[in-house]
Subunit: 361 residues, 3 copies
Amino acid sequence: MATHTVSELAALAGARLEGDPARRVDGTASLADARPTHVTFCVDPKYAEALARTQAAAVVVPQSLAVSRGDLALLRCDDPNRAFTKICALFAKERPKPAAGVHSRAVVAPTARLGVDVAIGECAVVGQGAVLGARVVLHPGAVVGPDCEVGDDTELHPHVVLYSGVRVGARCLLHAGAVIGADGFGFEPPRALGEPWTKIPQSGTVIVEDDVEIGANATIDRARFGTTRIGRGAKLDNLIHVAHNCEIGAGSMLAAQVGIAGSTRIGRSAMIGGQTGIGGHLTLPDGVRIGAQSGVIGPIPGGVELFGTPARPKREVFKHYALVERLPKLVERLEARIAELERRLERVAHERSSSNQEHGA
Amino acid sequence: MATHTVSELAALAGARLEGDPARRVDGTASLADARPTHVTFCVDPKYAEALARTQAAAVVVPQSLAVSRGDLALLRCDDPNRAFTKICALFAKERPKPAAGVHSRAVVAPTARLGVDVAIGECAVVGQGAVLGARVVLHPGAVVGPDCEVGDDTELHPHVVLYSGVRVGARCLLHAGAVIGADGFGFEPPRALGEPWTKIPQSGTVIVEDDVEIGANATIDRARFGTTRIGRGAKLDNLIHVAHNCEIGAGSMLAAQVGIAGSTRIGRSAMIGGQTGIGGHLTLPDGVRIGAQSGVIGPIPGGVELFGTPARPKREVFKHYALVERLPKLVERLEARIAELERRLERVAHERSSSNQEHGA
Amino acid sequence: MATHTVSELAALAGARLEGDPARRVDGTASLADARPTHVTFCVDPKYAEALARTQAAAVVVPQSLAVSRGDLALLRCDDPNRAFTKICALFAKERPKPAAGVHSRAVVAPTARLGVDVAIGECAVVGQGAVLGARVVLHPGAVVGPDCEVGDDTELHPHVVLYSGVRVGARCLLHAGAVIGADGFGFEPPRALGEPWTKIPQSGTVIVEDDVEIGANATIDRARFGTTRIGRGAKLDNLIHVAHNCEIGAGSMLAAQVGIAGSTRIGRSAMIGGQTGIGGHLTLPDGVRIGAQSGVIGPIPGGVELFGTPARPKREVFKHYALVERLPKLVERLEARIAELERRLERVAHERSSSNQEHGA
């Protein structure tokens, strides 16, 4: 197992080292799980107790975090998350992959073209006319349909399915069970109650550009015609649904279980929280940020973070929540003031009428 | 590649033709993607700019749409969507399918019975006693469990799983990764904290009737006993969950990521928006329409469109949204009126007391 | 087919029998589907009509349910659900499974170790160094990655995927398409707009403890480092997403389509309703109960049932719903009282000014 001194790690991470520079570590772990040969990290003071008890040799921390333990090597960084990611990458063991070549139990169509050093695992299937780039990896059971193209260095985990004609770029990572290119959900409505829906042919395709990651069991439907497109460098989490003819902008980030209805375009560098639903035929601006579980049902303004159903600027939504929260007391107070007014007015009217009786008649 | 004249298309679509009837087209595309040999369509005036720039030869449009370009052949229709669907079907290339017969790498149990011209792809598996109708297509990796029945002309995409004993009708289309007949989620609660849940045997089955389409990675659980039933002609989108003992009425349409809890019955021709959740043991009337992301937690009235959590008539929900939206101003205004009343009453009381002092004593 | 007398069933279920003890039944069914040789059950008086019409021989009922039919054998129980579950288990046919041994079309790596009587179905794949306990069942297409461990008597349905290094305990049941151990969704944000996200290595693993059931197409991601853990006896329904580094407490019950963001810990015996979303880095107490479709975005108190987004005590939420429901009328009433006050005060002020004119000048 590779080991490194903490001073080597400090150099790698651009960190200021406090403590013994010669101490050796051989892996990464969380504060709680770390053993005496591990490096760990702590960003948030709320983990102070775990920090006080960790058995780690070294800890990546922000410049300002107060640490009372003198036995720990501290790697002080401006950006501890990023620094720790570099250190993790140093120790990360290569995950096992199918061996280069075509496994004897894989099935590759004779007209498929395979790049150098492809690795095709057990029971993977490559259809007629499909083209795999260099070093493409198909894990067991992955299915690349006829006429698909898969770019260099892309990895398809077990049971990924590319329907026919789908194109996936280079350096993509598709997790197990992801389905790319199933039919969009399109039907002409019945002309009369009880008559059947008429399927609208879904003749288009899906293009997944370079450097995209797609989560396990996510589904991205092919276009009615033209292309459903996942832009370069976009990251999609597990169980996401992208409907036909959508376009997801480059560098966008969609958390798990998001659903996007047909023909919606999401700009570049969007960030969309988990379980959010986005209606069809909408255009969302570059850099839009939408909180988890939101429901976007109309056009939305740029430059703000949205939240709720229907999604509105987050600040407003939380103001409304607070208002609704206060509502019972607020109504009670208004009612009390009105009741008090009624009483006082009654009194004034009564006094006035007595006074009139006094003064008049 | 097949080509057709625009006058042929007009005849097919029942359209009134404006422009050169002899112009030939060889495919369909969107306004933006169309090339000079394509036919496209435009229904909504909001796409006027794309229409002004399209390179298409011909455009399917509504009777009334104003079009300023004389170079385009126009196919004017009463129902452009339906017309264009017919034209798309004309040009739709047959999607590649496994060849008829049983692939040498498929595994069919000796007691399974196969209809004429079945096509069973690589690594597909057909269990003991299963019965496949005529022309059934199993894409690579599809699994038909023991004792299943699959009707004529039904197509199972890669990695579809039918658990044992499930029945799927004729002309169904099941997309990749759909799982039909997994155990319903049923457990007897622990008698005391810390004791285990007791699994309730899920002895029933699933029946998917004719002409049903089920989306990628959708899951439909088998019944505790009896049958979970998907009615004839129902259309279910990707990642839908249907729990044990549910019944989905004929011709119903469920959008992506809908979840339906156990023993709920949904009437015929229901339309349910994406990500909606429906509680257990409910009965929803025929023709019910429920907006996206709603949550149905109690019995609901017929004849209206529902929305929100808990789901209520959509009109009311939007009235409530509007009210809550106005609430801060509304409360402010009420408070202002009350404060004004308080001031005026104070003044009246004060004047009265001065006046009494004037008149009295 | 095995048959039993209703008196045998009464003994098994601890029921008090009314009716002919010698009557024989050979299976279970719902009230509506039962035939004359079936035993069924009825707990809720709302099914009285179905009970009046059932063809069943015998019915499991609560002690107190009034039943007007003399021809039915009644099995009166304190806990009819639990009693009926025992009876169902008696009649439940063993679901077909792959035969013991390794199917000739399965692929088991030479360095994998297999326990006694494992049953490995068609096209299942077991990777290098994987260890399967005794009587483990792999249905067709299940993939056990390199270096995984699977405990005794655990069953993996078709196309379940265990990524490398994942550990699954004994007596677990994983339904078709479940994916355990895909990469957690972790990226360092771009330093500037347009730059790429940097993948954070996901070096940890997943441990699924004993007696866990995981639903079809559910996804449980591996930890960034350390372990994503599903506690002993937890039950997870279909299409659930559990992100990296989460811990689900023993005996917890998560309904379909729940999503849990990274590093959240859920206590023991939690009950979480369908489609609920839970934010990251939260700790939920033992025994927490959260209603369907809720959104948990902050720390939550113990000992209460939560509901809504953001999730709050259910009682409060429904109070708020009721308040918002009443709001239009409530505002109308407040406005009417204020208007009345304004009118009366106007009158008083007017009368006063006339009176002053009378008395004064």
